[in-house]
Structures are given as structure tokens and as C-alpha cells.
Assembly symmetry: C2
Homo-oligomer: 128 residues x 2
């Protein structure tokens, strides 16, 4: 993988956003900084970074793809109102892969948990 300014910017943008963005969101943000950037480049680099394990893909509620640069073990909380994706710390359910293996014999390579509910931000709005 060769260096490219575009890839660096894409990764930086991802790191700056706690709420894991979609490809299109990153594209719109970067367009301001580097107006010549192409949506195809954003998709290409996000996929490449995900393949190389630098970032991770997350499936949103509506089937949309989000990206996450946080490589430590953790789960996700997806707001059913605004579709934003938040992190949930790993220790709410440690060692799940081992438990599944001992109960089913299935060998788990990895797994995701998506919790769903209304995020604090949207909850506030509802109470107005």
C-alpha cells in the first residue's frame, strides 16, 4: 500500500469523529478541505483500510455502512432515531467467543454486538 494524501485525510477524518461516519459523510467533510476528492476514492480507501485491518466496518440499522477506527475490542450502540453509532465498552460481555464454543462447538473468528435504543441526545429532544 503506497502513501496517498487522500488516504491520510480519510483516516484522519475518521479518527476525528467519535460517531462513526458513513463513506458519504466523510466525502462531504473532506470536500471542504480538498474539493477535488472523488467519492470513489473515499470508498476505495475505506475498503482498503478495512481489508488491512486499520479500520472496521459496521452495519447500520438501515443497512448503511459505517466505519470505525477504534480497533480495541468494543461493541456498538445504534440510535433508532438518528442512526448514529456509539461505542460500548468491551467488558459488558467478555469472552463470548469461548462461551459459544463450549456450548455449541462453533469456532468463532469474531463477532459484533449491536445494541439498539434511543441515544441520550435524541431522548432529550423527545422531552421538549
Amino acid at each position: 500500500m503506497k502513501y496517498s494524501k487522500q488516504r491520510e485525510l480519510i483516516l484522519n477524518t475518521l479518527k476525528e469523529h467519535m460517531v462513526h461516519p458513513t463513506a458519504d459523510y466523510i466525502y462531504k467533510v473532506l470536500k471542504k478541505e480538498l474539493p477535488s476528492i472523488s467519492l470513489a476514492t473515499v470508498y476505495r480507501n475505506l475498503n482498503q483500510l478495512a481489508e488491512n485491518g486499520v479500520i472496521k466496518k459496521i452495519e447500520g440499522l438501515d443497512g448503511s455502512l459505517h466505519f470505525d477506527h477504534n480497533l480495541t475490542n468494543h461493541y456498538h450502540f445504534i440510535c433508532i432515531k438518528c442512526n448514529k453509532v456509539y461505542d460500548v465498552p468491551y467488558d459488558v460481555a467478555p469472552d463470548l467467543a469461548d462461551k459459544v464454543f463450549s456450548q455449541t462447538g462453533l469456532i468463532i473468528e469474531n463477532y459484533d454486538i449491536s445494541f439498539k435504543g434511543v441515544c441520550p441526545e435524541c431522548h432529550k429532544k423527545e422531552c421538549n
Copy 2:
């Protein structure tokens, strides 16, 4: 929701398939039995059944939508080779919603776990 033969057939097809199929798969199966059925009808009814809580939607590895008629609490195992979706019993991780609430304060409405790995069937094939 009015009765329709198409909806009944769609639900039956779903129940007969342990490995949760996609809309397109159900369409192809039903086409043999009821050649006049439309793909749009399959999508319409699956979405409607899911909205009414009769079935559930599952996100596949590749972003594809699968459907599941099993309403009891359980998780899913998705094969990274063949993309088939299997069930994993609930008791490998009971009461997760409560744990998340006590550790984060987030109110969980529901959640899914997708375990990923190579299914026994594909594992056999690899060993030939």
C-alpha cells in the same frame, strides 16, 4: 392486514428454511409453486411481516438482508465462506441489556449478536 395467499406462502417458505434466506431466494423458490408471483410482493410482505413482529430481519456479512421466522431470543452465526445464517441459543449471553444499562446507563430496546466464522459444512469442504 388482509389475508393473501402470497403472504401465506412467503411465511411458509421462511419457516421451512432453517438457514435464513434472502428475499431473492424466497422469490426464486416460490416462483416454482406460484409462477405469477412478483419480487416486489416478496419484499413488500417480508417488510410488512417484520414490521408486525411476525418475523425478524438479519443483516448478512455482505450487507445483504436475511429473514428469520424464529421469534424466540437467540443470536446468529454467519459463515464467512457461504454467507449462510445459523441460530445460536440465547443462553450463551443472557441478560446483556441489563448489564449494559448498569454499566453505561443506556436504555437498550433490543440487540443482536452476529458471530462469524466458518460453518461445519464449509469446514468439511476445506479439508478435502
